[in-house]
Symmetry: C2
Subunit: 221 residues, 2 copies
């Protein structure tokens, strides 16, 4: 018995979950095959096995979808993937755009204990370096209302989850301020005069123009 046989199954579930999230209306055999870059015959066979395990179901109109059980499993893989991405970026200083491939390998490591400890070691992050939320151990995703920093409440813990602008200049600017997706900040003050923002980040105060603040999308922690 090969201990890595589950990689394949996990990849099907993860891909199905990704398609579900990305609003793709009807995930059929062809769509799934394309997404996985596999032959439809292969996918058909795999879907049958997953159905037998009650991880997916095929509706009368041939739509393939996750069952609750399957979704939970998918979310646990997503959780592992995103935690490893945080590890790679925060601890090993990878760039956020370099970590996906590696996390795809790491996400298949089997150990709940490991993930629990990794989570703690990383300080229980709520988003990965791309700004995507990390499901909790029960596969729950905290539902988040993403909003521009300009409309966020004062004195609340916020996490930067997306950028309204990804020009080189803006990225370099953020880099200089040591801000990035995943950074936790708190608005301490908004200047009446020019609506500029003062935010606290790791015991450090940063001033941001209203323009900059408007391009930082945040979630309330």
């Amino acid at each position: 018995m090969q201990h890595f046989a589950h990689h394949s199954e996990e990849n099907y579930l993860k891909t199905l979950y990704k398609l579900e999230v990305s609003q793709v209306k009807k995930v059929n055999n062809i769509a799934l095959s394309k997404s996985l870059d596999l032959n439809p015959a292969t996918v058909l066979e795999a879907v049958r096995k997953l159905s037998a395990k009650k991880l997916v179901e095929t509706l009368p109109d041939k739509t393939i979808q996750l069952t609750e059980k399957g979704r939970k499993k998918a979310l646990s893989i997503v959780r592992k993937h995103r935690l490893w991405e945080v590890f790679l970026v925060d601890k090993l200083a990878f760039k956020w755009n370099e970590v996906h491939k590696l996390a795809e390998q790491l996400e298949h490591i089997e150990s709940d204990d490991l993930i629990k400890r990794l989570d703690a070691f990383l300080g229980y992050p709520s988003v990965d370096p791309h700004g995507d939320p990390i499901p909790d151990e029960n596969g729950k995703l905290k539902k988040t209302k993403t909003q521009p920093l300009t409309s966020a409440p004062l004195k609340k813990q916020l996490t930067i989850v997306a950028l309204g602008n990804s020009s080189d200049e803006f990225l370099r600017y953020l880099d200089k301020l040591c801000l990035a997706i995943g950074s936790n900040i708190e608005v301490t003050e908004i200047e009446d005069f020019d609506k500029s923002f003062t935010v606290q980040h790791k015991k450090r105060l940063i001033t941001l123009s209203n323009e900059a603040a408007n391009n930082l999308f945040v979630n309330i922690l």
Copy 2:
């Protein structure tokens, strides 16, 4: 093509290396099969493939051994295994005896860059939590002369690599002192009166009885 096909090959090489190190005189098909817990027919087939790749060779007397190329590859796996063990113990607070199984999964993650960064992140450790030396990126093992602390030179960086006594009391005692296999210490003084040792560990001075020192085996870094 399955990206995890190499697990199998890596396991053969690693096992062969372990047998070589453990002084087993003649590694034949049977010995290797037993060590891997696989059927001899399976192993025979695998050894042929590895031979074709010039990773192992079978001598006229049927002894199976690593080629230089194979040994180098084996050492890179051992390096990964041991670095991950250090990570698990030092960073995720696993006990040294809990990490082997996990490291067996992690050692197959494919990325030289990852390992380079992990090594740096861990502070370039020279031994794993079991006291086994970590090969360098070129597959070289620093040849070490392990000796009791009592015969080690003063004012040299030392690494604890083994214990002369693994009684619960001794382990608890070391634990209290925050010493463990892998700890780096330096002898600052030996007391004339009772031959007790004063060692420095992470900017902290510790006094050890001669008895304790005699049960700590160290390598010079």
